[in-house]
């Protein structure tokens, strides 16, 4: 555990990717196979199945420290990370013992069947047996969320160096539903026979946002242009008559979408399609929020299946006839995909249409229609491109439409969490309505650290009232708020709800009186509103 905890600390102290790869390579070279497997699992967001809930975990720590629950919660809201807060309030261990990462994971798993009281007792004892960095990892195993700015690609690069295997191969081998309980390091990474796992998806190829102007990409003829749909990027797999549906987050979601089951029969075996899972009714996409709601449901009633039917907009073909097509140029993959979709002839599997235009300028014009199509802009894909693995620059780009913006006045401010615990970074913003300010969105600051410091000082010096952690401030500062969507809402005082609001910039040039009004906001609703 000591080495793993140290790896964790070291990773946070560097921003250099090469250094991080080196740290992982070193870790892999000196830890046991079982520890390596767990390290890989944890950095791929897999962790031992729930051991204890966070309420019980809090109770254990409050029991040891004697802290008042509210005082703990105040601390948690400042620190922003539960495992870290628990670790910080605990006293130093009285009898640290050195054990491996897998030892502690096995230990946790062994407590799973115990009665609550016994489980708590065992865990409290363990908390007293670790140094602070180790204890942090131990607590993280129970609370989840190993986020340290390390991508799976980076881990695989290090693993590739260590095993002397191509990282892309490792990426494929580590996709899907494995867990350290069901496999071993050698089985997962070193066996060349991967046929047994029929549901295994390919690593997704992800695009970066376009930085410059599309003109810089060269001839439009060399590019395939599609709408960028706002759904769940997915892989649909049919092998040996069985269907599997994977989300980009490597989650198996087959059971959530029974409507795709017939495709297991109508699609040829050995087929893998990359596409967007969308809620579509009468040929028109529905708001993404409805799909989210559907996924959140425990029971899929007839009603919800009828109200929010799902379908796939097919982008790409990764496997056909059991053959991996990823090295074949996009234009050829597209041709086979077209034929396949036609042959299947189902309304729930449709080709993501290509957008054609004379030139880039014409395309730019067409892009303005994105919102009414419920799309977020265009995807630009080089026709000759292979299907790569992970996020890569060069061949695929997202060309998103500009967000909607409104100039609004800050009326409430609250200190941030975690990274921003010492600064006022969460603001409630309001627009004018008949001489009054009506709040319409809460946004996290997209300001620079320097601006944040400046705003925080303003908040400290211009507080009118305090309600718990929230401060009412003199309405003076104007911010440009950007958002992706706008909807009617009965739950908001303003009557509208916006999607992904964030602060674009500080309009130092504007006075509070010059901010936008509720009428401006409602105009956007009529123009672009989602039903």
């Amino acid at each position: 555990m000591k080495e793993f905890a140290q790896l964790f600390l070291d990773l946070e102290n560097t921003s250099s990717t090469n250094k991080k790869v080196e740290l992982f390579r070193k870790y892999f070279s000196k830890s046991s196979d079982q520890d390596k497997l767990w390290a890989l699992a944890l950095f791929s967001h897999k962790r031992p199945k729930s051991i204890i809930n966070t309420r019980q975990l809090r109770e254990i720590v409050l029991g040891i420290t004697g802290l008042e629950p509210w005082l703990f919660e105040e601390s948690y809201s400042v620190v922003g990370d539960l495992a870290e807060t628990l670790n910080l309030v605990l006293p130093s261990a009285s009898r640290p013992v050195e054990q491996s990462l897998s030892y502690w994971i096995d230990f946790l798993v062994s407590t799973r069947p115990l009665e609550e009281a016994d489980k708590k007792k065992k865990i409290s004892e363990a908390l007293d047996a670790m140094t602070k960095p180790e204890r942090f990892v131990f607590l993280k195993l129970m609370t989840g969320g190993f986020r340290v700015g390390v991508s799976k690609t980076l881990v695989l690069k290090a693993l590739g160096q260590y095993l002397e295997v191509d990282p892309a191969t490792l990426a494929h081998r580590t996709m899907g539903n494995w867990s350290p309980d069901t496999t071993t390091f050698r089985e997962l990474l070193m066996s060349t026979n991967q046929d047994e796992d029929l549901s295994k998806p390919y690593p997704f190829y992800l695009a970066y946002a376009l930085e410059g102007s599309p003109q810089d990409l060269g001839m439009l003829q060399d590019w395939q242009v599609e709408w960028k749909w706002d759904g769940i990027r997915s892989q649909l797999i049919v092998r040996e008559g069985r269907l599997a549906l994977w989300s980009r987050g490597e989650e198996l979601i087959t059971d959530k979408f029974p409507e795709f089951e017939p495709l297991a029969f109508s699609m040829p075996s050995g087929t893998v399609i990359d596409g967007e899972l969308l809620p579509v009714k009468d040929g028109k996409p529905l708001p993404f929020a409805l799909l989210q709601k559907r996924i959140g449901r425990k029971n899929l009633t007839k009603r919800i299946l009828n109200d929010v039917p799902a379908s796939i907009r097919a982008y790409d073909l990764l496997e056909f006839d059991g053959k991996d097509l990823r090295r074949v140029p996009l234009s050829e993959r597209r041709n086979i995909l077209k034929g396949l979709v036609e042959e299947v002839g189902s309304t729930i599997l449709q080709l993501s249409e290509e957008v054609r235009a004379e030139d880039w300028a014409a395309l730019d014009k067409l892009q303005e229609g994105s919102r009414s199509k419920m799309a977020e802009g265009f995807m630009l894909k080089r026709k000759s491109s292979p299907y790569q693995s992970g996020r890569k620059k060069g061949d695929w780009w997202k060309w998103k439409i500009d967000p909607m913006t409104i100039d609004a006045v800050m009326v409430y401010a609250q200190k941030g969490h975690g990274k921003r615990a010492d600064l006022y970074s969460d603001y409630t913003l309001a627009v004018w309505n008949e001489g009054e300010l009506v709040p319409f969105a809460k946004a996290y600051s997209g300001l620079t650290d320097k601006e944040l410091t400046e705003v925080s000082r303003f908040v400290r010096n211009n507080t009118r009232e305090k309600f718990g952690p929230v401060r009412t401030v003199t309405p003076e500062l104007v911010f440009e708020v950007a958002f992706e969507g706008i909807q009617l809402s009965t739950r908001h005082k303003s009557g509208v709800a916006v999607r992904f609001p964030r602060i674009h910039r500080w309009r130092k040039d504007k006075k509070a009186e010059e901010a936008n009004s509720l009428t401006d906001l409602k105009d956007l609703l009529t123009q672009y509103g989602e039903q």
Partner: protein, 339 residues
């Protein structure tokens, strides 16, 4: 009940009986200054009263021509019947808790303080009173400092490791207090220690005040780049990230602050090494100081004041939070103003 001896006004903490302000943030006639940090010692007042060891730094920061009177610790003077004395706060050289006594009331305004003896600053001395004004910069139970020796050992090890890699070690620290504390505690046998001009000026001022320190060298354009290899440089946070640091390449940066205790805050300040060391009291320190004061009335200022005052009330103290403009230990971006 008699009128409180001190009141909290929009200019600062005020004693009407003696007509003096303590650490005012607007110009006043007479200012008592707990210590020379810029959020406590501000420009523009007619007369200042501070501790002896604050003298030269105050003149450096507020101007040579200020009207400044200084006193020793535990040396009372009287203004219109109010007995006023300064007592060690252990925060930075010259820092004081200011005690004001009049009739049945004894108030202690503690400014900023820490309880640990840092081996450089005269350590904190508990002062009994009826009314205690305390900071709360780190007033949450997640702030528990490790002993200084342990932290310094970590810094020494980091320095050695950088040296072995052929790198210069850069430390960001407050120009008054933190910088000198680190200089004093470091193992100078590892290599030479250089300082930024802002810190050099404070060192010189403290020297004029008769405070002995381990020798350091000022970074100047004349010094050859090679001299910095394996050396340790101490600079205010505002100097890092500027072209000033170019001469030290390749280098590693460490932040030394109580805020480094929280991963999120550390990350926001860049992916650097962080060491948890503060000149402010941690949670246990704040609680201890309140207990030692034996005061019934506690006024909680700058920091997590609503949390700390609520907790004190629940433990039976008569505690209130008070709005001031003191800033405690700041984010790196703001520490530049402390120079």
């Amino acid at each position: 009940m008699s009128t409180p001896l001190l009141s909290f006004t929009n200019k600062g903490i005020y004693c009407a009986q003696a007509d003096v302000f303590i650490d005012p943030w607007q110009p006043v006639h007479k200012a008592l200054v707990t210590h020379a940090h810029s959020d406590h010692a501000r420009m523009g007042s007619r007369k200042y009263l501070a501790h002896d060891q604050s003298k030269e730094v105050l003149k450096l920061r507020l101007g040579d021509d200020i009207q400044l009177q200084t006193v020793k610790y535990n040396q009372p003077l009287s203004i219109n019947g109010v007995k006023i004395s300064f007592h060690p706060a252990g925060h930075v050289p010259g820092s004081a808790q200011i005690r004001l006594e009049y009739k049945a009331q004894t108030w202690v305004v503690s400014g900023d303080y820490k309880l640990e003896d840092d081996g450089f600053t005269i350590p904190f001395e508990p002062v009994k009173c009826t009314h205690f004004v305390t900071e709360s910069t780190f007033g949450l139970p997640v702030f528990n400092w490790r002993p200084q020796s342990e932290v310094i050992e970590g810094i020494n090890r980091w320095w050695l490791a950088n040296k072995a890699e052929g790198k210069t070690s850069l430390i960001a620290a407050y120009a008054l207090g933190k910088a000198q504390r680190i200089i004093q505690a470091l193992d100078h046998s590892i290599g030479p220690v250089f300082v930024h001009g802002a810190i050099h000026n404070v060192n010189e001022a403290l020297h004029r005040n008769g405070i002995k320190q381990k020798p350091t060298t000022l970074v100047t354009p004349e010094i050859a780049k090679e001299a910095y290899k394996g050396a340790l440089i101490i600079a205010p946070g505002s100097a890092l990230g500027t072209s000033w640091t170019r001469r030290f390449q390749p280098f590693a940066i460490a932040q030394v602050s109580g805020w480094m205790n929280i991963r999120g805050i550390k990350k926001r300040r860049g992916s650097h090494q962080g060491f948890v060391l503060s000149d402010h009291a941690d949670w246990k320190g704040l609680v201890q100081a309140v207990k030692w004061s034996q005061a019934e009335n506690i006024y909680v200022t700058h920091g997590y004041k609503s949390v700390f005052s609520r907790w004190l009330r629940e433990q039976g103290w008569n505690a209130d939070e008070v709005e001031t403009l003191y800033e405690g230990e700041l984010s790196e971006g703001e520490s530049g103003t402390q120079v």
